[in-house]
Symmetry: none
Subunit: 193 residues, 4 copies
Amino acid sequence: MTSRKQEKFEMILDAAEKVIAENGFHGSQVARIAKEAGVADGTIYLYFKNKEDILISLFQNRLGSLVESFKNNISEEDSAEEALYKICDIHFSLLEENIHLAYVTQIELRQSSLELRKAIGQAVKPYIQLIEHILIKGVADGSFRRNLDTRLTRQLIFGAMDEVVTSWLISGQKYSLTAQVANTVDFFIRGLK
Amino acid sequence: MTSRKQEKFEMILDAAEKVIAENGFHGSQVARIAKEAGVADGTIYLYFKNKEDILISLFQNRLGSLVESFKNNISEEDSAEEALYKICDIHFSLLEENIHLAYVTQIELRQSSLELRKAIGQAVKPYIQLIEHILIKGVADGSFRRNLDTRLTRQLIFGAMDEVVTSWLISGQKYSLTAQVANTVDFFIRGLK
Amino acid sequence: MTSRKQEKFEMILDAAEKVIAENGFHGSQVARIAKEAGVADGTIYLYFKNKEDILISLFQNRLGSLVESFKNNISEEDSAEEALYKICDIHFSLLEENIHLAYVTQIELRQSSLELRKAIGQAVKPYIQLIEHILIKGVADGSFRRNLDTRLTRQLIFGAMDEVVTSWLISGQKYSLTAQVANTVDFFIRGLK
Amino acid sequence: MTSRKQEKFEMILDAAEKVIAENGFHGSQVARIAKEAGVADGTIYLYFKNKEDILISLFQNRLGSLVESFKNNISEEDSAEEALYKICDIHFSLLEENIHLAYVTQIELRQSSLELRKAIGQAVKPYIQLIEHILIKGVADGSFRRNLDTRLTRQLIFGAMDEVVTSWLISGQKYSLTAQVANTVDFFIRGLK
DNA sequence: CATGAATGAGGATTCATTCAT
DNA sequence: AATGAATGAATCCTCATTCAT
């Protein structure tokens, strides 16, 4: 992809994030996104297969940033506990800082067909695998208990964090999300030991 | 509500559960639900405000059964740990036994506006409060640690269970959901102590 | 079909004939036809499967009238020659009297997929068979020659009449169509003897 | 037109014939024709005014070949009857040999606006005039009857042949088209005498 | 209470055509 | 002469909801 194409691709993605966060996925007409991005309606379809593809691409792109952020902040020398803390911290911070993105991931992205849910599942996989990687490492170095079911536990951890974010969002962000990091991770660590 | 009305109300709800589970919320036309229930299209609107109201009512009704089940199975004499185990067990069992209901609650019900999400949140509240009630009891009788943030933890527990169910569903139910109960609760208990 | 339904069905058909004749099939929006018929857009779809179905139904309906007209005007006692004359006369007269219908059958109806052409072919079949019936009768009573290939000839006759109508229409109806009946039939009769 | 231009013009025409025969006129995107011809989309518009112009040009070009073929095969010394036979024979043979062309002329070319129909009429004119020329010659040399309406008859003959071709095409070419020449011309000759 | 015919708003997508390079 | 990225107009059909019977 040329940088010219890449540039326009991201313009549309930014526009989509804004419009979808404000109006919801079903409430966001392609024409509206095009206008916000400053391109013609038809141009959207030179970069995305269809409307749903915009949503998927948006999610993949943003999740990529999250994973990127993990790579930059978590070193292999960090203990499993520290790594888990950082993951939760980055996760909560990112969404608290970017309320548009939070709406899209927690509310709009869920308004999707089973088909789409599976595609999203694929995109989330690297993240969930990262959590499992840390769990395995913790078990190996003795930080966590031996009999830990890492496949199940990675889901428990992801699901717990996800619910905290959604509850915070639905509450109208009346409290600090990042303030929940310590207790959340504490709960996890205890469960893991 | 007369029993005559009540009866038809439930006929429509049963029809809706079946149709929505098979076709998804957006794929379920009111006309289709009416036909399945054996009533005229217009009749639906004598019992429900609109299409979304069917979904909410369905959820409330089924959640009522779940809470009912808790009341019948959990006694005040049960220890907090036992109660938590039963909650998770009943939760997983109910959805494993009723795949239609599982689809509706985990997939279709999420395909909804922020508005609807709030209504659903209201319906889930008693359940989440039940979890918190157990947590508080556990703290009180010394089963759980004193400094537990019960508001946050009830979300963590609910979110973790919810994610396990959704993952199981999206996987295509390739493994037993109830088989996850023991490890799931174990993780919670450790986190709570 | 109740007479209530039948009535609305024909209202829509009449509206479609008018609108399509004036604007062509591709130039006729369903909304426009609905407005002309005095019904809502959606109502159209209670009576017709889709836009193309309106065109097919229109053709079938009008062709039915034509065949009806033949039945009323041609008696079994008529000689084959007389019958052929009447057919051509009724055919030309009907289209000359109803220029809207002429446009639809000669121009718009041809603007169609191979699929549709086959459907139209089915509708025309009774008419072409009627021509063949007359040819066979003429051969039987000695009016026409024995070695006549009736399958081929019915096509020659239908195609010849069809072309005369289309040419007249494209010319802008600068001359009388019915004035061509005598010479047209004369040509046929000679070819048949 | 330079031979360079001429060459590319014909490349596009060949591509159009192939694509339109396979997908129909409405199903043939300009981009598809361009790709088949190995040129850029925009290049098409250096050689043709618009999409419809491609169809007209294609028809004119192919009809030119037909008339060319007549000139090469019909001599002024041929009797009117012989000439008529040759015309029908060449007409049927050409289309039977080139099924792509047959689809385009009999089906796709008819899917057109009144506007286009008139342009096609212009292109067909030389052919119809050729038929009339033969009729006049036949009347002059006494082969055909004196009172023949040559304007009408040329239409009857053209329409009859056209219908035979279309019927053969829609039938799925289940029988030989050229096998119909003898009986077809026989019918004409009788009608002309 | 119940019916079901009628309504009509609403939107993703295609594709012929243009024009800056 | 040629390119091909960008344009943006244009429309069929669905389906939640109503209301006269």
